[in-house]
């Protein structure tokens, strides 16, 4: 929240009056970057306090996409709630589903069979690539580089085709079920995934060629929106933002879930915690995801895809918190069961919500155009912020 005392030196009102200046010369201007705005990635309202073009502080007003998902969760059975979680972070729906299914599986004390976990990893990492591609396209578009948008969306189509063949939906996939998978992988799944990987590897190089050493890009993103590692940890910021500030922490390595420990991959980190580093971290993450999918697709085990889960799910009373590394950060589910078929409380810990708190700190002293860049680099999805 903006603290008026922390920023500018005090201005003497009498001095202003004496020199007959108009109110437009006053040092502070409060401007509304309203909920309808092409660059706020959804319905986000940002109230900026400006000194000319420089931001003194800002306040985010959210809740325009609040749909009461947590309340709905208390009135649906566990299986019925599964499609709702896709709609929160609608860009990375598969990840949301993974987190939810794993949490309920913990409550039920079942574990998905190895084949199911493998396929889950493949689909989740494909989703990570798709989410980062969308991020790259829209972030570059906000900054003014229009071309990457077309490239990334065109390449993202291949992933969405795979999802469509697998579960029928492109965006809100509802791909996983509690206990495993509903659908067996279609014939040709491994081949198509491998084709996608071969198709995609040169594409990351293409995106990098467009942006990484592009002078305009570097000038627009270097030293913009820098945040230190201590601030990130204090604010609870996770995901690529935290990693770009230098903290080598990824839930897939720290608290592995869904057989990630069987795969070999690196955690890219950045140095300065600015927008450029976050860009580099996400590009590197895409490469690491390709690496994971490669390993997973070669080693797909045979076996059942669904564990023994009762049709009527009544987990024993208790509470479980489980989180996964979603493309945006730590996505956590805290589910409390009272022994009945419907959860007593479903709490979703959204990474975008917590990351968005950092916006104020990151934008102090930046220009308004940089605010757009920082909102883009935080990679927020309002569906998740508001639920």
């Amino acid at each position: 929240m903006t603290d008026p005392n922390t920023t500018l030196a005090h201005v003497d009102i009498a001095d202003l009056a004496a020199h007959d200046k108009t109110y437009l010369d006053a040092n502070e201007l409060v401007i509304n970057m309203g909920p309808q705005h092409p660059a706020t990635h959804g319905v986000l309202r940002v109230i900026l306090r400006l000194d000319g073009e420089k931001v003194l502080g800002l306040e985010c007003v959210i809740g325009y996409l609040h749909r009461g998902v947590e309340k709905i969760g208390e009135h649906r059975t566990y299986t019925m709630f599964n499609p709702y979680v896709d709609r929160m972070d609608y860009v990375a729906a598969v990840s949301n589903g993974l987190g939810y299914c794993e949490t309920v599986e913990k409550l039920l004390n079942v574990e998905a069979p190895p084949r199911a976990q493998h396929v889950r990893v493949i689909l989740t990492e494909l989703n990570r690539i798709a989410s980062h591609q969308l991020w790259l396209g829209t972030h570059a578009l906000d900054i003014g580089a229009i071309t990457p948008l077309f490239y990334t969306f065109r390449d993202r189509e291949e992933i969405l085709k795979i999802y469509e063949k697998y579960c029928g939906a492109r965006l809100t996939t509802h791909a996983f079920r509690i206990g495993g998978l509903q659908y067996e992988t279609y014939t040709g799944f491994e081949k198509e995934v491998k084709n996608f990987l071969n198709f995609f590897r040169p594409k990351i190089d293409e995106y990098e060629e467009l942006l990484t050493t592009n002078r305009i890009w570097v000038e627009r993103t270097k030293n913009v929106g820098a945040i230190s590692a201590e601030d990130c940890i204090a604010l609870g910021v996770t995901g690529p933002v935290l990693r770009a500030s230098g903290v080598k922490w990824d839930l897939r390595k720290a608290q592995p879930y869904a057989n990630y420990k069987n795969f070999d991959f690196d955690i890219p980190i950045g140095e300065n915690g600015d927008t450029y580093d976050r860009y580099l971290v996400r590009m590197a993450e895409m490469r690491q995801s390709v690496r994971i999918i490669e390993q997973a697709v070669d080693a797909l085990p045979e076996g059942p895809i669904m564990a023994k889960v009762p049709k009527v799910m009544k987990p024993p009373a208790g509470e479980v918190y489980h989180s996964i590394e979603a493309p945006k950060g730590e996505l956590g589910y805290f589910i409390v069961s009272d022994g009945s078929t419907q959860p007593y409380r479903v709490r979703v810990r959204p990474p975008s919500f917590v990351n968005l708190q950092a916006l104020d700190l990151m934008c102090r002293g930046e220009l308004v155009a940089d605010v757009i860049a920082v909102i883009g680099t935080l990679d927020i999805v309002l569906g998740e912020v508001d639920r």
Binding site: M1, G63, H66, E70, K71, I72, E74, H75, T77, M80, K106, L108, N109, V110, E111, P113, Q182, Y183, E184, Y186, G188, I233, A234, L235, G236, V237, W249, A254, Q255, I305, M306, A307, K308, V309, P310, K311, V312, M313, K314, P316, A317, G318, E319, V320, Y321, S323, E330, G332, F334, V336, T341, R345, R347, R349, F353, V354, L356, Q357, D386, R387
Partner: protein
């Protein structure tokens, strides 16, 4: 909008061939009969209770298979009675230290492999401070609340904390009565700001000392706290809707 829908009928017997692209899985085990009506099919390839019930990983405080002990019989036989998992006490050097300082105010338990402690309300800002400063729980993952209207202390506020140094995650819970307030954790973790605002917004629990205690997701003038159990699923603040949107709250 039905609140509760009964899931489809009897558990299926052993399925046959697993569904491939040629034989797509039948969703929900329902398919159309020649007469046009939709009926649950007895021979379902959808669920495969085949291979051994996956042995649950050894976790403290969880018993052997609870629900997976359900025998896959053609008729809905009563599931094998398994012991209901309950939270069991948890000890560690950190807990020993905390118990030494605070004694009975802290009750450490563990459930499903996850550790948590139920802390007395009076100890609250202190225990959190100690956890952050001395025990290195520097990352406040989440703050949320639960509402148990039957209890005398209706609300349970939960902090989920994680320590990077120890790679350990714990929960701290405390129980407060309706109308009671809690000291804000913002001085301890800056990220608690919006999390506490959301708890206030959804449950009405105020945090003393919070720099900006106001609603975050719902509009500022909204009356009512939706995640409380006495707030209906279809309930809205009709007054706010009428004034601000100019419509009869339309469902």
């Amino acid at each position: 909008m039905p609140d509760e829908i009964k899931p489809p009928a009897p558990p299926p017997p052993d399925g046959d061939a697993k569904p491939t692209a040629d034989e797509p899985a039948i969703l929900g085990g329902v398919k159309a009969t020649p007469s046009g009506s939709v009926q649950a099919d007895d021979k379902l390839p959808a669920e495969k209770p085949a291979a051994p019930a996956v042995a649950p990983p050894a976790k403290p405080a969880t018993p052997t298979a609870t629900s997976n002990a359900t025998p896959v019989a053609a008729k809905p036989a009563a599931p094998a009675k398994a012991p209901v998992p309950t939270p069991t006490p948890w000890d560690s050097p950190m807990i020993a230290k905390l118990k030494g300082s605070y004694g009975s105010g802290i009750e450490p338990l563990t459930y499903a492999g996850q550790n948590y402690m139920v802390v007395d309300r009076s100890l609250i800002p202190e225990v959190l401070q100690v956890l952050r400063n001395e025990e290195q729980f520097d990352y406040c993952v989440d703050i949320t609340a639960l509402h148990y209207p039957q209890r005398e202390k209706q609300f349970e506020v939960v902090w989920v904390l994680y320590s990077f140094a120890r790679n350990e995650r714990i929960r701290v819970k405390t129980q407060i009565a309706d109308g009671a307030t809690l000291p804000s954790s913002v001085p301890i973790w800056a990220g608690a700001n919006w999390l506490e605002r959301e708890v206030f917004d959804m449950f009405g629990i105020k945090f003393d000392g919070h720099p900006d205690m106001k609603r975050i997701l719902l509009p500022d003038g909204w009356k009512g706290h939706p995640l409380r159990k006495d707030y209906g699923i279809l309930q809205q603040d009709n007054e706010w809707v009428q004034i601000n949107l100019g419509i009869e709250s339309g469902q």
